[in-house]
Symmetry: C2
Subunit: 384 residues, 2 copies
């Protein structure tokens, strides 16, 4: 047995060397380094570059490039001010070309753009901690293919089952919708949905629930690279001219029916919530009018929603919706969001009719930083 172990050890070392050789001629520098005070140091080996900078969604240095300084060994470096607890994304620009940081294995894709990510966390309960994978029970994340009779397609959705899901007990369902350019992977990757849900459930801050994240593009079956169009360059509009058989809203009950027939759900209004960001907020708005007695909880996040000029049908829909007394109609948006005007008109309309809703406004614009906050808030408001 010892000989096998020695052989195995040799194999492992050889594999390690092979992997090392694949990295190029130079030893890698460590990047990013998250320092004890929450500042972050970025390093890149690029001895012949003329200008290297970090471009990140650091609130503290927003709108500014963070120029890196070249050291004698050819490594460019820069350290940020201390950053607040948060999930950050960034890229490097080397002489005008954007690259991801070769020192960082962790990336997210937004439409066609890959960015590196890292998390700053200081204490239990801060946003960095909430977005991290902690030592708590974890839910299962599945990429599920389902039939949509309305769209005439096999389509993909992401399903989060809470750790307590055992196939016997029934759970409520939150339908969580992505925005333009997104897909069924967006809320899990950019939105940290499974980490947020794991942590909120473990802390007893929200009830265990199933979270369903469908693909909201009726002209795509699934995320780029995961359906038969191949490895195209995503641009969010590539398939808009194909002509969908129906809209997302019109085909939405295919998803609800699939979920109710394949999982142990509380298959009635009190066990259903729907929320989405931007385009998905618009979908939520449409779904709330089309199926007014199907869901008890609605969340419009930075929603692409507005009041139509011809209001006849709209007025009827809204009257029926609020006549059915949903338990929550929640509108959330950032002060700088470019969709503020439509949301303001919607709130004025609701006020004029004395329809009850909750409103949350915070800093910032049309960004994932806000949508993670809205998910965290909405999840704690529902099924209680």
């Amino acid at each position: 047995m010892k000989r096998i172990m020695t052989l195995a050890a040799c194999c492992l070392m050889s594999l390690g060397c092979m992997a090392q050789q694949q990295l190029g001629q130079r030893p890698r520098v460590k990047s990013p380094v998250i320092n004890a005070d929450g500042s972050v140091t970025f390093n890149l080996y690029a001895p012949s570059a003329q200008r290297v900078s970090v471009n990140g969604d650091f609130e503290e240095i927003r709108g500014k490039r963070l120029d890196m300084t070249k050291q004698e060994n050819g490594v460019w470096t820069v350290t940020t001010e201390p950053l607040n607890p948060e999930l950050y994304s960034y890229s490097l620009t080397v002489d005008g070309q954007r690259f991801i940081d070769p020192g960082n294995s962790y990336v997210n894709r937004d439409i066609s753009t890959l960015s590196n990510i890292f998390i700053v966390t200081k204490s239990t309960g801060d946003k960095g901690h909430l977005y991290s994978v902690n030592d708590v029970p974890h839910g299962t994340l599945s990429r599920v293919w389902y039939d949509s009779p309305t769209l005439g397609q096999q389509r993909r959705m992401t399903v989060y089952l809470p750790a307590a899901y055992d196939g016997k007990k029934s759970f409520p369902v939150m339908y969580l919708l992505h925005g333009h350019g997104g897909d069924e992977t967006a809320w899990g990757d950019l939105g940290r949905a499974s980490q947020i849900m794991d942590n909120l459930i473990a802390e007893g801050k929200c009830v265990p629930m199933i979270v369903v994240m469908p693909n909201g593009n009726p002209t795509c079956n699934a995320a780029p690279g995961w359906w038969h169009e191949g490895m195209y360059t995503p641009d969010g509009n590539a398939f808009r001219d194909r002509g969908a058989k129906a809209s997302m809203e019109e085909s939405f009950m295919d998803i609800v029916n699939y979920v109710d027939s394949h999982y142990k759900t509380i298959a009635k209004r009190s066990g259903r919530a729907v929320t989405g960001l931007s385009m998905g907020g618009g979908h939520t708005f449409g779904i709330s009018r089309m199926y007014p007695e199907t869901f008890d909880y609605y969340g419009l996040q930075s929603a692409a929603a507005g009041i139509p000029r011809d209001r006849t049908k709209f007025d009827e829909q809204m009257a029926r919706l609020f006549g059915s007394k949903p338990k929550l109609y929640w509108i959330a948006i950032g002060k700088e969001d470019f969709l503020m005007q439509g949301n303001t008109q919607l709130r004025q309309y609701l006020d004029s009719k004395s329809y009850p809703y909750e409103y949350y406004e915070n800093d910032g614009g049309h960004i994932w930083r806000n949508w993670r906050i809205y998910l965290t808030m909405f999840a704690q408001k529902i099924f209680k």
Copy 2:
């Protein structure tokens, strides 16, 4: 409603512009471009770079960098010879620093190294087609957390359920094990396991089956970034000194028990196969000796396997294993694999005892290109 649509259209355009602005000052060039003859053109905008090259696993130019040529507009370019149908991975080297191609949204991670991928396919039935997502019924891929009593951990495995899985009919299970530095995502990402299985099943070349891809590192609960150690830089050895409570082989029945109790499986020997690559081939070898009547099909792919010096217990285990008459004991390895010697010794041992096994030897070494072939072959040999 028209006004809502107009508003929505404006929102979408604004979002598109925002995404565009994030890309940097220069328009992106398209890269890679797969040409009709199977050659591939790579392009990178890097006006002040001195030397830019492509490093890929192109069999045709193996061991050579493919130097790119700078054009007047600052875009470096190179076109390969026509490539055979295959999934290829590559990176770019700019003045000595390895980067992934900013034009390509598709990446795989191998240990800590991200590489871009693309597929060349010429006709139905070639390897490129087999590794692509085609317009066929798709199985569901789940990242499942399960309890391992033996390791005292909540751990993660990837489970592929075939499209025909409906929770009523029972299916056989292939356990598919990764190598050193890998994790429960390796076979799905680098090995294209779900595409291979979808396509083989759709073509009637293998029976519909469940495929279970566990994490084979007893000191890690899950893939990097997916457990509570945070976003560390993976190196395959980082957690080796922590001291696992048991080995992968010793804890393996926790996985089988979980799968049999949570899915509709053919929970007996004739419905179970186990196969793995490199370290996972070693695990398969160990599992075949520890649980000789649990599986009917074994596949050792480029296995880290050998004969121990003290053979007393080993001889007993092997006699019991082959006395139980498994339906398949398959050994596959490439001519240039650095583990050939141990595999040759194992085959000599099996020959000396007249133990029946099948052997497949092909070109190449210890590479994913071969492991995708071995999975494709093994899947067609089992449960028939």
